[in-house]
Each structure stands twice: as C-alpha cells, then as structure tokens.
Assembly symmetry: C3
Homo-oligomer: 448 residues x 3
Amino acid sequence: MRNRLILPLIIALLAVPVGFAYVHWSKGGPGTGLYSRHWSPDPVQGYWDPDNFYQSTKIVEGVFKAELCIQCHEGITPGIVADWRASRHAQSEETVTCNACHGNNHQQLRMPTPDVCGSCHEKQHGEFLDEARYGFPSHVLAMDRAVDAKHFVDKPKAEVQSCVQCHSVATKCDSCHTRHRFDAAEARRPEACITCHSGPPHPDDETYFASAHGKLYLAEGNGWDWSKPLTKGNYKAPTCAYCHMDGGRHQVAHKSLWKFGLREVNPHTSKNQLLRKKWIKLCSDCHDEEKARQWLTELDQERKQAWKKLYAAEDVLKDLRSDNLLHPAAGERPPYPMDWLDSLWPRERIGFFEGQASVFYNVSAIERDYFEMWYFDNLGAYKSAAHGHSTGVKEGHRKMEASLDRIETQADALRDLVEAEQEAKITPEGSGDLWMKGAYTDYNREHN
Amino acid sequence: MRNRLILPLIIALLAVPVGFAYVHWSKGGPGTGLYSRHWSPDPVQGYWDPDNFYQSTKIVEGVFKAELCIQCHEGITPGIVADWRASRHAQSEETVTCNACHGNNHQQLRMPTPDVCGSCHEKQHGEFLDEARYGFPSHVLAMDRAVDAKHFVDKPKAEVQSCVQCHSVATKCDSCHTRHRFDAAEARRPEACITCHSGPPHPDDETYFASAHGKLYLAEGNGWDWSKPLTKGNYKAPTCAYCHMDGGRHQVAHKSLWKFGLREVNPHTSKNQLLRKKWIKLCSDCHDEEKARQWLTELDQERKQAWKKLYAAEDVLKDLRSDNLLHPAAGERPPYPMDWLDSLWPRERIGFFEGQASVFYNVSAIERDYFEMWYFDNLGAYKSAAHGHSTGVKEGHRKMEASLDRIETQADALRDLVEAEQEAKITPEGSGDLWMKGAYTDYNREHN
Amino acid sequence: MRNRLILPLIIALLAVPVGFAYVHWSKGGPGTGLYSRHWSPDPVQGYWDPDNFYQSTKIVEGVFKAELCIQCHEGITPGIVADWRASRHAQSEETVTCNACHGNNHQQLRMPTPDVCGSCHEKQHGEFLDEARYGFPSHVLAMDRAVDAKHFVDKPKAEVQSCVQCHSVATKCDSCHTRHRFDAAEARRPEACITCHSGPPHPDDETYFASAHGKLYLAEGNGWDWSKPLTKGNYKAPTCAYCHMDGGRHQVAHKSLWKFGLREVNPHTSKNQLLRKKWIKLCSDCHDEEKARQWLTELDQERKQAWKKLYAAEDVLKDLRSDNLLHPAAGERPPYPMDWLDSLWPRERIGFFEGQASVFYNVSAIERDYFEMWYFDNLGAYKSAAHGHSTGVKEGHRKMEASLDRIETQADALRDLVEAEQEAKITPEGSGDLWMKGAYTDYNREHN
C-alpha cells in the first residue's frame, strides 16, 4: 500500500519545481538560445542575426518603388547601387530590386535572412539547411552553437561579440556572397571563406595558401574563369569551395570525417571508410586515386601522433588532479551557467572529453597550456596536414612538443614547490583572485 | 641685507653649469635630435634621412643634361629609366627630368626630400606638414620621434636602424610613391602602407586583409581602376587610404580618435564626439549611418574590456613594487639618457602612464610580460576591432588573458619563493647581470 | 719479437667486427641514406622520391600511344590534359608527349626524376647538379640531408614525413615547375618558392612579401610579363628567383655568403669579399652600388648583434652544464642513432657548434628555449635583415631578448631551487619521463 503511494508522491513533489522552471524557461529573455535570459543583444547584432534582432532605423518615412530607392541611394551610397547594377539581380530578365529583399516601407525595412534568399534560391537554401543533420561543426548551426556555448554569457560580451560576427554565417547569406553583387564567382574564391576561416584554432587560410594548391591559386588565380561551376577540369588548382562544396553543393558537412581535428577519429569504421571514398573520388579529379589514398593515410598517421602527445599531456593533468594540485579547483570557481549539477557536485574536468572544452578561461595556468596545446597547436597541425602545408605540420608538432615540455616542467615544479612547502611547514597562499569565486564570471553574467 | 644677496648668488651659481650645458647642447653632434651627441649615422641613413645625412657618391664627374643621364642609365639601371618613362613626370607636357630632383652635378647629387617634391606638389606637401599639429603618432613627426625616443641611443644601433627605416616616411616621399613612377595609383593600394604597417605592435596589414573589406580587395582589387580618386562610389571596398586619407588628403591624423590603442580614451568628450562623427560620415559612403554608429560602440566596448585587463595587470606590478619585489629595481639599472632627475632619484615606473613605455628592455621578466601584454596583445586586439577582423579580437583578448594569467602566476611564485627563502634564511642572489648596472646600455651609448 | 706480433694481432682482431659492420652496412635496408636499415618508406614517398620508391599502381593494363593516353585522361583527369595542351611540351614543333616522361606501359609507369627532365633540359639540370659542390644548404642535396639527419629515425615518422615533402625538391622537378605546364613563367614567381620557403626557421615568404620589393610585386606583379628572362630591366622589382637565380641559373648556392644565418660568418675573408661583390653587382641592376654596399654593412651589423645575444645565452647554458644542472643530461637519454661514441662517452652538447643542432627534442626546457632562440628568433631576424623587412628585424631581436631573459630567469630559478633543496635536504625528483631513457626515441626507431 505504502509502495503504491511513493511514486505519485515523488512525481507530485518534482512537478512543482519542474513546472516553475518550465514557465521561467518558456518566457525567454531579450537574448536568444539556452541562456536567453542572461544577455541582451547589442544593436549591431541586428545585422548579424536580423531575424531575431534587426530594427529598422526609421530615419526616412515613406513607401517607395525600386526606382525611387535607386535614385536616392545613387547619391547617398553609390557603391552599393553600382554593385547591384553589376549583379544578376539587375541584369536578369526578371529584375530583382531593392523591395524584394528589404521591403518597400522605409520605416520597416528588413535585412534579408537565409529564408528571404531561399524563397528564390531554393536548391542552395535547401542544401544549406540540410547541413543541420550532420550536427556541429556546420554553417547552419553556427549561431545556435555560439549563443548556446557555456562561455557565451560567462565571458565579457565585448569578447564574445567577435564570435557572433563570424557565426552569423548561419543567419544571413552575405557572409560569403557580399552585397550587393551576391556573386557566385566571388563566393567560389577562397577569400570568401577566409574572412572567418583564419587564425587559431582554424588556420584554413594560412594552411591552404601555404600549400602547393594555394600557391597555384596565388600565382594564377586572377586569370581563371570564376564563372565556371566547381567541377572537374574547370580549375587548374582546387580552392576551399572546390573541395568542400564540390559541384556547388551548399553544404560542407556531408564529407566531414576528421571533425576539425578536435576529437580522435577511428578512420576504420565503415562510415568513415565511406567518407574517405568520397574524398578519394574528389582528389582523383586531378590525381591518381592511389596517391590520394596514400596522402590520406599520411593524415591518419599525423593524427595518431598528435593524439599520442595530447594524451600524454592529459595524463600529467589527471595525475595532478588526483593529488589535488590543480588550483583553482572545481569547487573554488563558480559553476557554468545553468549547470546545477556542478553547483551541487563540483568536478574538476580535464580536457575535451570530460566536457571542459569551452571553459578554459578560469583555470590554472597549466590547464590553460593544455587547452592551447589541444585547441591551437594540435588544430594547426591538423589543418596543415589536411591542406598539404608540410612546414605547418612540422611547426604544429614542434609547438605540441614545446607545450608538453612546459606542462611537464610546470607539473614537476609544482610538486617540488609543494614538497618544499611541506618540509618548511608553509601554508600555500593559492593562486590569484581573478578567476576564483566567480569574481570574473559573476560580473559578466550580470552585465552581458 | 643678506637676503637681498641670496637670489643673485643662486642665479650666479646656476648660470655657470646651465651655460655650459647650453653651449654643449647647441653645438650638437654627428647624429640628430635630442641625443645627437650620442650616436653617429651609418652611411645607409643618408637614404633614409637625406636632408641630414646623404652624401653624393662622387664616382662620376661632370655636369649633365637630362638626355645624357637617361642615355647612360638606360644601360646601367634600365629599370628605373623605364619606370620614369611610364610616369607622369615623363608623360606630362612639362617633363620633369632627373635634374629637377637630383641636380645635374654628378659630384653633388642629392636625394629628394619632401621639400623637393613639395616645390611642385604644394597641396599634398602642405597637408603632410600639417599633420604635425596633431602630435605623434603622425607621419611627419615619425623621424623626430624615432631618434628622440629614450631607447634610441640605449639600444644597439643594429636594432634601432630597423626602426629608422620605416620612420623615414617623414623624410622622403618614396616610402609610399616608389621611385621612379611615383604613382598615385600605386600609393592608393594597401601595399603602399603595409611595408611598414605590419607585425606587432601595429598589425594593420594582417587585420585589414583578414577583414571582409580586405577580402574583397584581395579577390577583386586587381580589376579596380586605381586611377580614380578616393571618393564615394569609386571603389567596391575601402582600403587603408580610402578611410585614412579620404579624398586623397595627405594626412591621417585629423580623424585620429583612439590613438593607436596605446592609451585609454574617453569616447564621450565633445572633441571625440566630433571625431566620431567624421568616421560615421566616412562609413556612410557605403553603410547605414546607424550601423556605423553601432560598430564604433562595439569598438568602445572592446577597448573598455581591454583596459580592464591591462589595469588588473598593472595592479599586480604595483603591488610587487610596493613590496620591493621587482628586480632590477630602478636604482639597480642605469638611468635613461639625459634623465638627470632619474640619476638623482631613481623611481620604478610601471607601464605607459608612468613613462616606462619606451624602455622595456632592461627590466624584470614580469615587467616585460606586462609590456608585451600592453604593446602587442592589446594593440593586436585594438587593430582587429578597428579594422573588422573578428577572429583577431578574440585572439588578442585570449592573449591578454594568457599574459594576465602568467603575470599573476609569476607574482605568486615570486612571493612564495621570497617567503620560502626567508623561512630558510637564504639571501636571494638577484637576477642576471645583463640588464644590471648598465652592462647593456653603457656599452651601446659608447658605440652607437 | 713480441712487438712485431702486436700490430698484426690488433688488426686481425679489429678486422672481424669491422668486416661484419661493413657487410651489414653495404646491404642497406628498405629506406635510403645513413639510417636506411632503421626506417621504411610510406607509399606516398614514391611521389617524393620516385627514383627510390615509386611503384606503378598497375590498375590499367596495356601499352599505349600518347593519343590514347590523352583520349582516356581527357575524361578521367581533364585538368592535367588541359595543362599539358597549354604547355610548351604540347606546343613546340617536336611535341613532348606522355610517354617521354612516364613510359608507355601502364603497368610500369614511372614518375619523372630530375634525370628524366635533364635528358632534354641539360643546361638547367647541369646547374642544378652543380650545386652539390657548395654543400648544404642546397637544393640538390636536400633529400640526402633530410634522411641523413640524426633525428630522421629518432622522431616519429608522421612528423619527419612533413620534412621529406619539401626536401623532395632534390628528387623531382615539379616542386617549382608544377605539372603539367612546367612553365618557366610560373617558376619565376615567388609563389613557386614559398610553398617550402615559409614559416620558421626560414620565413623567406613572410620577409620578402613584407619588404618594399615584395610590396611592389603584390601590387603590380600580376601585370608583369613573366615570360621575360630574369635579367636587368625586365622587372620593376626583384623576386626570389631574380636575385637567387639571376639570369635563370638553376642553382642558388654559388652566391651563398651568410649561410642561412645558422653560423656566425666572418664577412672579411677574401672568399666572402668576392661573394659580396656578386651581391653588390646584382643589386646595382637597380640601385647605386654604394647603397648596396651600405645595406650589406647593415646586415653584417645585425648579424654581429644577433650573435652577441646567442653567445650570451650559450654561456648561461654552459655554466649550468659545468654545475651539472641540465637534466636530462647526456647520459640520461639515449645516444643518437649510430653515435657509438656517444654510447660509450655521453657528452652534453650545447648548441649548434658542439653538434647538438639537429636533436633539440629530448632535452631540458631551457635547452629547448635556446634552440628556439637560435633556430627561430635568430633566423627570423636574419631573413628580415637580408630581405629588407625592417619590422621583422626589430621583431626578431625583440624575441631574442625575450628568449635570453627567459633563459636567464630559468637559470636563476634553477639555481635558487637547487640551493633551497640542499638547505632543506630534499633530493630532487628530476624531470619528466618522456624524454628520459629513450622512452620516446627507442619506440620510434622500432616503428619508423
């Protein structure tokens, strides 16, 4: 009898807080995403995520026909009118004018979202949306991923804004097809990609341009006919888009095998063997299939070697954790937003696998070194190996070795110091205050 | 009675050394500027500062008409003759020949200074000179600033020579208009600027080319008509000169608001509001005014965040100074040249505000870290934010955080070590000798 | 009598092991070079060193005439056929078809080596081979040098493969003349060189493009006529090839004076004065001879200053060695391959001069810092000075100073720690295990 009451009782007791939480949640806040209540958008974000945040400036009143838009803007912003005139929108039989994308009421102008572009460019828009089923990394999920990241409300908004700018590739089309030409020929060139795909942790720019492929592009690319589709025989050397968007397909995730070098990948699963065949087929547009296969084997071996080093570093950190030598430790700093489990039961996480990836800004110096080894040195080596930049492979592994050396040296010094302190009966002071007790993150959560 | 004698006596006693000092000063030495007596120019400096140092090579004797110059140099250095032939100097009705700039006596050839060019190009030369009233940073004061810097005679000449090379933009015109085409079209392109404006602490090159603006230039700039003036509608994307020398105005300082990111700037002063309006007007050549305003607000916020970090680091250093833990301390190293006050009363300066900016080469490792945080990490973030290179903003702040972490960790370790040494009654040895007691700087002052 | 027997006896006793060693040696292993028995080539190496390792893929059977090759590959790999059609091989009177280089039996295809190309291009091939008499660095010895390096079998193959890729410039011609155009015009452009000549320790790419010369190339190079030979008057600004392969001469070593900045060079030897004259003559294609001479003097002074810093660092390390403070010490890590003398008598080497150059991967952190100061900071400064990238000179010396500071600080800390440990009677634990006792290198020697 008593047993039959327990379950309903538990459900009833849980129902109240869960209900409250749900209501709280569903109302949302001025931001978007998981932490919508914890941040407000800066006005400029309207240009990066127009669907959620754009507000028309309301300077000019009136409803205008395209001729009038053009007439006026010819004087105010002649460059964008000239670009439009040179575009297919202006030159095709059925002209696409200002109104089609921005509306005609100047008080309620809109910035076009992918849906607006997709109303005509159905195929491309469909392919773009389809990326979602491959998860992240992908372009279509880039904005969600940015604002749902654990650190998005923890770090100062002045810094995370710079993330949002590139991640806006999910919420507008002119990241690649710049306004107002929106030219396929432009988007086929590597410059369309490298505005975002450069610098650590994704030196696609640097590694491609340093490869034999990139070198050919640099020396001769200005003379190539960029109006041609991205198919076999049309280009002397491949570009970002030729390989990752082959045939002009508007999504890059369907061939994704090595996952940005972020995780160790087993290249021998049947799924990965299939992906590998796609790559080999692509390479054989120009190269012997066997050669492509051998290059990919080299990439596998580079990855294996990189992970060997990363695991060695991770082991050092795990040993320090076992001995309680990492400070600030999990309980000494604030939990990440909405991680109620972490509030109750703070756990020191080591590296990507334990879920520490996004939060390496309020940790000890040695943990930061590990983060940088993984996120910068390792990914630099990966991108170099994948893009054929051989000196970059050497450089990435050189940096990984230097990081590992530094991590080991620091760990040794830490143990030596603790031992000396114990001998001398000194109580250690602990590390600086900045990252401790939420001095950094609490402030940001209140002000972002 | 005695009182009436004291003042004349003091004056008389002061007059002698002041008089000696003045005579010494007024005679000057083989160099130029504040420390002219402390250095001699290398011969190559004649090409960088011709007015002060160029000496004709005197290999050939004779006074020549232009036809003869050309005839002979067609064989010796055909490239420069071909450049001249392709220039407006050769193609305009009133030909400007060799003699106009170099003279016609081969024993007394001169290298043209801005004054020589300015004798025809009055407007541009006037604008260039006008920069002086905005102080430094500016092009026209670049050479003075280089040779008057505290470290100019303190550091080895082999190193400061590399400074002089770029700072020669003040003393010759072919830094931007390379000889012998002297083409406006060339100087309008970003390449004219980036020979000097690259690398830490002023990665203008890297941040512009990584921005959406720079990407458009890279992809399409070769096809633009560079003979057009730098005004609204003529260029699809802006370049260095389009924004900083808008309308072709030969000075960049009149819009200078953020001062290179070197100091914290209050963006709300009425003067800075006026400067901001100039920028917004410029941006609105292509963009909505409101958007420009919002972007600049983002830049303000980035700056605020950067200074928060810099002040945190400065505080750590000031605390160490209070506890007398910075070595070599002010009294342990030589005063800077002609800083007689520092000889009598050595003071440990922290950071830019206390006047330490130019001298971070004979200080402790932790002070150097602070210098690099300020001068490299911070300025990298600033230039990225100002030029629209979003991954650079992230990277700059990541580096600032890493520097701050390192500074705090070093400060903790320093305190721990001192405490342990006190417990163990060990007298610390102090840091290495290189920077101490002038071993480094005294040598240079005698040999530069 | 006994004396007369001793020598023959010693010879007889030595003969046996020496004989065995010779037989072992002469048979060689699956690799090439000094350590041929210690490594096996990955299949991809067949493309980098075809003479030694290429194996035909044997997918297609048959002996084909060129027409058939072309007909089939027009469909399979149309790009390479198009390149060939645009080449002089296809357009000259005496057509050079597929067979000439690859053979006509599809089961026994070959990848062309320099010898194959040299059978027609005798002059260029002869010049290329002639580089050998200048020793290394040189292109023709690059592959030998790579596989004979002490670390080639000691480091993981996944890493040293990235070396072999660039060093294949010795064993195939399409490193510079990419297939299947093999265009002289292409190889004259700097992009042909920078695929390999970039990044630390040889930032030729970065330093050239940041110079005034490189800037002119970037802004205008696309409009130059690259079919012209590399001689006086044909190019507005010099490129890699213009200076290092002047007149189209296919070897770069005959003017080599500063030896990559790796060693200190006495510029005043009569041999080096002759080499200097070659450079001055080259510079005077465009510049005043006197100016060229002065620039080279600046380079000498930069080098002198760099070595002053390097020696200061070396002295710190030698002092640590004298006091037995470097760990792992020579006896604590495995000897380098085939260094039997090191096995018997392990010696701690400091820096390049004592022969430690190639092996800075299993040493203490402070030795690694010294290596990086020498190999990266110093060479960055050198290349900047040599290529006219003035901000790079400043940056290189700034990094050298920071490295020197770090080395001195570490050395001080090491001495302090040891002193404190002695006071407290603590036995130090020594450094991490990774580099000790061959854990790292033994594994690689078995698996490479």
